[in-house]
Symmetry: C2
Subunit: 123 residues, 2 copies
């Protein structure tokens, strides 16, 4: 709390780097899209929509826009006749790899297989 103004209430979340990251990728779908793009070779809208997790297309559309404007994906038209697009990871996207790797490690080492029943009922 150094010499700052008195109005610092607005956008308080952005002061903490963990918060900023969560604001960007801390929702149910965004990191799954990045996982597909970075590790599973997903590129097209259909690739992402057709994954195991069945993200609704409207949400997918929103998340792709967000990721493009955040600079994590770039939209590239690779075919003209009928227009076809692919969403390619940017160099910045690579910086998410440690995060995804940490998530994978936690899930694999500590949430292996079945989830305890008491948790299932809680979720």
């Amino acid at each position: 709390m150094e010499s700052v103004n008195h109005i610092s209430d607005v956008n308080f979340r952005s002061e903490c780097p963990v918060c900023r990251t969560l604001d960007l990728v801390g929702d149910k779908w965004t990191l799954l899209i990045m996982r597909d793009a970075l590790f599973l070779g997903g590129k097209t809208f259909a690739d992402f929509a057709g994954g195991n997790e069945k993200i609704p297309t409207n949400l997918l559309s929103d998340r792709l826009k967000k990721l493009v404007s955040a600079g994590l994906l770039r939209k590239h038209q690779y075919h003209d006749k009928p227009p076809r697009y692919e969403y390619l990871p940017t160099p910045l996207a690579d910086e998410l790899k440690p995060l995804l790797e940490a998530m994978r490690a936690f899930g694999e080492n500590h949430l292996e297989g079945r989830i305890p029943d008491e948790l299932l009922s809680q979720l």
Copy 2:
């Protein structure tokens, strides 16, 4: 029993470890609570509620229950009359540290300053 309905209703998308982790901690608040508990010394309900991010108390209550039943926190009564509780990180919680560290690193290195307004409006 519950004041708020459940967060990610039903199914753990259990096939992918990244998904399982996201189902557990991939929401707006859970990792912030764990950050407070692991790194900022937060212990009591009031500690978490009084942080910079102003989590609503009903959500805090839900998230604490979830974290306790997931084995990441344990609820300990440290005073009897009046009853006072603290939420202490378990050994399992330590396994989240690399994840939080990865989030902090990404936010610090690549989301410096503020998130663009156009993005904030979508969050």
